[in-house]
Amino acid sequence: MKQSRFGAWLAIAIGTVYFVLPLIATFEFSLRLRRGEYSFDAYAIVLGDPRFQESFLYSTIQAVATIIVGALLVVPTAYFIRLRLPRLRPIVEFITLLPLVIPAIVIVFGYLRLYNSSSWLPLTATTRTSDLLLTFSYVVLALPYMYRAVDTGLRAIDVRTLTEAAENLGAGWTTIMFKVIFPNVKVAILSGAFLTFAIVIGEFTMASLLDRPAFGPYLQLIGANRAYEPSALAIIAFIVTWACMGLINLFGRTPAMAKR
């Protein structure tokens, strides 16, 4: 057994080098803006750039909108499938798998053809509706993860008994949905939410093709035109992704789960 431990450590060591080295290199590169010495100038430029702030804000708002729309779509669906319509489960699960199969670029290509200015639902006609279309496209991207998170969360709480108890006490379905179900799957939604946030912030293809001022296209612009700022942005993006994952882990451990 001793040999396997050496091999295991070797694998971990090689893995660590491969994964950590680019981060170190990027960080080092981002400090090189000022000739001759290390400085955080690149970060200062980036963070002070109004376009950075605007695009990051835009993407953040899109992320929040995505989470809200996504939750409103997914939670009732997962609930009713689990409770009343088990036969529709395969169809719904297939639908939630589609965004993982069909590449994002193909999906947004479809939008541009189907919902452009000359179609029956001209969603690309104005900026506001384009924003809406982008939100919907993000919802599609996040769908697999949100659905799985919520479905797992519903499985953990006994939905049937909760519903029957609520009905017994006279609650109508809106009350049940918003006062009983949603609060209990809050944690599941939150973990799906942080993942969605990470996805939306970093997304490039859809925002670029729908021509919206999101963070992704901004990154591409900086990358094409500047030398050191892209590295600073990469570090910032990495920190944001880490924060999201960290928050997922944090919220994943509810007191109930910790007891297990």
């Binding site: 893995g15 080295l21 990027t26 319509l85 639908i95 589609l98 053809r113 919907f136 992704t241």
Partner: protein, 300 residues
């Protein structure tokens, strides 16, 4: 008997109650289905149908035939090559990393750290990843510079170029390896310790165990996940775009250019391009799901 009749009528009420409830449930699920139809199914169907049409709207297979012209064929071929390379690389390295983390008898903190990092890294794709690798292995990158400084070895002199097929595959590994680790770790958990012990007590050494027990049990997961990695790489664009601009001719970048500016001068050919992508990723995922079903059968 009276009790049975009572139960019978209760049951009838419940049945009616349930049907009524199902009706309402359909209403509750409707927004989701409508959304999926409008923003997932219909756009895709539109493209698929459009691939079989010509400019006037007549049915034709010409577009599919045109996919085989040299520039498009080479785009598909490069895409497939990059995807295969990063999939196999990700699978092999990911396997050893997952094995080390799950079964390597390492300190207890290694596995959760590994899993968390893989969770982050598998999402660290796209433009920031491209920038990171440019800063590492680009012409002025840190590793390039260090290798010149300390080992007098210029990797670019060997013909290596980050902005090429191999550079892209190497970059893709950054999210392929973590994905493999994340999916494979639970499968490795399924390898019960007793099987290893049973094989040992029957006289088998490590080689026998892997050849006759572990790999046969794992191969559906291994192969399936490799195929998933392939599909994952095939559909990726942002990383490639950030790394090479539009200079590297892969399918996703070609499609991107086509959407932006109709570089193929044939709308329907663009649809065919998309159809080709859907077929490849769709087939890959179907095989993955089938293989996953097979592996679950044994590990019940």
């Amino acid at each position: 008997m009276a009790q049975e009749a009572e139960l019978g009528s209760d049951r009838a009420v419940l049945v009616r109650f349930r049907i009524g409830q199902s009706g309402w449930a359909m209403v509750g699920v409707a927004p989701f289905l409508v959304f999926a139809l409008m923003f997932l199914v219909l756009p895709t169907m539109y493209l698929i149908v459009g691939a079989f049409r010509d400019g006037e709207g007549n049915f034709t297979l010409n577009n599919l035939g045109d996919l085989f012209q040299p520039s498009i064929r080479s785009a598909y071929w490069i895409s497939i090559k990059v995807s295969v390379a990063s999939a196999i690389g990700g699978a092999v390295i990911g396997f050893f990393l997952a094995y080390a983390g799950v079964m390597g008898s390492l300190p207890n903190w290694i596995r959760p750290t590994l899993m968390t990092f893989c969770g982050v890294a598998s999402n660290f794709a796209g433009l920031p990843l491209a920038f990171a690798f440019l800063a590492t292995l680009g012409r002025t990158g840190l590793v390039t510079a260090l290798l010149i400084k300390y080992f007098d070895f210029n990797i670019y002199s060997t013909g290596f170029n980050l902005l090429s097929f191999w550079g892209l595959a190497l970059t893709y590994l950054y999210f392929q390896i973590p994905l493999m680790v994340l999916i494979l770790a639970p499968a490795l958990d399924g390898l019960k310790r007793e099987w290893r012990e049973a094989s040992a007590i029957l006289g088998a050494n490590s080689f026998h165990y892997w050849r006759y027990v572990a790999l046969p049990i794992l191969w559906p997961s291994l192969l399936g996940t490799t195929i998933l990695l392939f599909a994952n790489a095939f559909g990726a664009i942002a990383t490639a775009y950030g790394l090479t601009g539009s200079s590297l001719n892969i399918v996703t970048i070609l499609l991107y250019a086509q959407i932006r500016g109709d570089v193929l001068h044939n709308q329907n050919l663009g649809y065919a391009l998309a159809l080709g992508m859907i077929l490849i990723t769709g087939l890959s995922n179907a095989v993955y799901i089938w293989l996953r079903g097979r592996s679950e059968r044994w590990l019940r």
